[in-house]
Symmetry: C2
Subunit: 494 residues, 2 copies
């Protein structure tokens, strides 16, 4: 009887997840194969399905099943599911239908206007709508939890139980480490542009196949397609990664495939026995990013891996033959401050994220206004990277996130680095010769370690607890700083 109620809850929540999974596939289709004119009807389909999903999640049925299950004598695993579902239910019910509608509307208005503002490089065009959106996001945060700071509420949406105070500590160490390294390498020129050569899309596709095979991704459960902005979606036995082939920048797709494959492996390896329950999900956006960046940077941009891979890359795309191995490795790993986050190298990338965090924090504390964003942005880029921003398109307008109402989301990109640096040193204790293995093209043990330590744990732990479970310590940026210093110290011969 007790089991029965809990099983009913599982069945009910599974259906909600199946609907979410369906929307994921429809979103994938929209960004890969859908004919361009299909946009309007796809938006209507997605709106209908999210309405149905919302109705099911906030239904009396959910409330009853959660309440009755709460009175049962459950295992700790069942309790974890219940806790996570309760959280989903509360997040969905605490927002009034009116607020959700206003937010949805304002998000799409602001995002549409952002496109135009970015095209004209004029922040002022979108400022008034962004102000309205920020006010609504503040309302949202207050509705979700009036007892916590608004920014903490937002952070918690994407990274459970990670607070502004924690991130401030991590980022302060990270920033120091990055600035130090930047200082030391500033006058050493490594040229990343030698890899910007023409390679046909067909050959780039073969390079992608090489990566997929190297990472041993099961093609009967996953696929790779083309899109404009690469992403990963899917669940269980149907995981889909995407990339974008630029004929004059072959390494862009090469590393985007590595990155998305890192996300993909996480999805593929989630615990089968907990499928379609809360525990059978990934932990958080930050942990997800730790996996994609581990695979992309710690594995894919590792000089020892590249020494192994470069001859194979040259075999597939002979255009690379004129580039020497060391030049190739240096070009992949060149630290070159850029205005745009998504084009940033492994090191300066963190500063792009930190500046967004610093701005968001002040914005939601009411210390700065929306109108001040462009100037503060430009000042910080100048201060951190020594680059002068001349127009908003390459400054505050570069990323869509804020204009889509995503605040508290950016920190997760750098948290991913902090987590994976720490994981790396835990792994090194178990696999001391991981670099030797990688140098002969063997990533099996490394990937298996990530699988067991991270993927197979699903959402059993909150992100900080998961890091502690794996490494014995709560998150600490010193490991990622150590990793950067070791790696780039060698490359830059410091």
């Amino acid at each position: 009887m007790a089991e029965n109620i809990y099983n009913q809850l599982c069945e009910h929540m599974k259906e909600i997840m199946l609907l979410g999974n369906t929307m994921g596939i429809l979103g994938w289709d929209m960004r890969t194969y859908m004919p361009s004119e299909g946009t309007m009807q796809r938006a209507q389909q997605l709106a209908l399905l999210s309405g149905i999903t919302h109705d099911r999640l906030v239904s009396e049925k959910t409330a009853n099943l959660l309440k009755k299950s709460g009175a049962l004598d459950l295992t700790s695993l069942q309790k974890r599911n219940l806790e996570l579902w309760q959280r989903d239910y509360e997040q969905e019910t605490k927002l009034s239908v009116d607020l959700v509608k206003k937010l949805t509307m304002q998000r799409s208005i602001t995002e549409k206007l952002w496109e135009k503002a970015k095209a004209k490089s004029d922040f002022k065009m979108v400022q008034a709508e962004l102000e309205k959106l920020v006010e609504l996001v503040k309302e949202q945060a207050t509705a979700l939890n009036p007892d916590k700071s608004m920014y903490d509420v937002l952070l918690d949406l994407y990274e459970k139980n990670i607070t502004e105070a924690m991130i401030s500590t991590y980022f302060s160490e990270l920033k120091k480490g990055v600035m130090n390294l930047l200082e030391k390498t500033r006058n050493i020129e490594l040229n990343p542009d030698i890899l910007k050569i023409h390679v046909s899309v067909a050959k780039q596709k073969d390079l992608s196949k090489f990566i997929i095979k190297f990472l041993n991704m099961p093609t009967e459960r996953s696929r790779l397609d083309e899109t404009v902005h690469p992403f990963t979606t899917g669940y269980a036995d149907d995981i889909r990664i995407t990339t974008n082939y630029l004929e004059k920048e072959p390494m862009a797709s090469f590393y985007s495939v590595f990155h998305e494959a890192g996300h993909g492996l996480y999805g593929l390896n989630l615990p089968k026995e907990h499928r379609w329950t809360a525990v059978g999900q990934s932990t958080s956006m930050g942990i997800h990013e730790s996996q994609s960046r581990f695979v992309e940077n710690i594995i894919g941009k590792n000089p020892v891996f590249l020494e192994y891979a470069i001859p194979k890359i040259k075999e597939i795309a002979p255009e690379f033959k004129k580039i020497g191995t060391e030049d190739f490795i240096n070009a992949v790993n060149a630290i070159t401050p850029s205005k745009i986050r998504i084009y940033a190298d492994e090191v300066t990338y963190n500063l792009h994220v930190i500046l967004r965090f610093e701005i968001e924090r002040e914005l939601f504390a009411g210390k700065i206004s929306v109108g001040e964003l462009p100037q503060i942005w430009n000042n910080k880029i100048e201060e951190y990277l020594g680059i002068e921003i001349k127009d908003d398109a390459e400054g505050v307008l570069q990323d869509v996130h804020w204009y889509g109402g995503l605040f508290g989301y950016f920190p997760d990109y750098a948290l991913g680095n902090i987590y994976n640096g720490q994981m790396l040193y835990a792994m090194e204790k178990k696999i001391p010769d991981w670099n030797d293995q990688l140098s002969i093209g063997n990533a099996k043990n490394i990937l298996n370690w990530l699988d067991i330590q991270v993927h197979k744990r699903g959402f059993l732990y909150d992100p900080a607890d998961l890091v502690k479970e794996i490494t014995g310590e709560l998150p600490d940026a010193k490991y990622f700083v150590k990793y950067m210093n070791e790696k780039f110290g060698k490359i830059y011969k410091l």
Copy 2:
């Protein structure tokens, strides 16, 4: 207020259609790109969505809106929508949940077993399950309308208001025409196999592009992909056709693209002002087939079109260069009795359908039993085509339809021919020089005529009424017989 209720009904039915459209896309994905292991979760998604769709269609809300709208003073167009929606509602409500479940289960059991039985060419393996399925389909027919013959009820599901008696009349004339033509051409050898040459998939894809361009299909609203069994799906601004490339049979994909494009054009041209209402749908499966076969056979296999197209085909695929124009045309149009329906030529194809109709009719009249199907099948093939069937796989087991519970569906394939023959002569009155136009590669006026006469009428009329509206007469097989005699009389120099 009155308008208001009717608009609510429209909005409600639009959501149901959007769900159906979503399932169409998920089905397309399943048959084109989905990783193979995704089958189980896709089945669960589709079952969930069809459950939601069913619940909405049979809901109190539907009943109320239909009832209240029925009391309104509606336009004839609104009345037509109401009538069609009422029919959908009744079909869905008259079947008990228990029966629907049993049917769904029995369908999938029988279909799965059919695969094995076909592989082993042993009808007896699937006989017992097929018997159960036939009983359930009979129950279904009785539940839908106990006052009509079971077979008429089934026919009506796919071809509204077309009865067994009507089809018997049409098919009797059609059969006579086909048998006559077959008699006259029996001893004249035309060799279809000269076109079975190796052409790479890449070149076959270019041939597909040639067809898409020739038919002027808008790529911003449609697409072409690969699958195992070609089909067409989608609605409004997102229509998807599929084909299958066989390296040693290049003309198979060539004509499957023509065929599916015929379905696709119908979908693309449906009346925009009636979108997401019942009237904004296609008329029936038979009318749909009339459009695909018109485009495939009357246009695509027309000798004058081929005279225009063959040089272009040879340019794209030089492998064809060694085949002379007349041999090419004759090979495309060779009448060669075959055991398998889907490989049949334009003429004998009809006999494959007629024999299935004759068998279904007797089966649902209780005049023959499931166990007798193989023998009756083989006797009829021998009688009509002079071919001896040696095993069930190339006889009664060749098509999946019956084993998936589709009875009353086969006749529509030949009804499509009967309709399009009749449409052709109506068109000829308006475009007397259509053959001349086609001979210079101009199908614009022909396709425009189909658009205006058929596509743009959506589901304003039942199929027989639509044929009358277009041609001035109710369906009559004599036109298709005339078309066959004229076309093949020339090719076979009779």
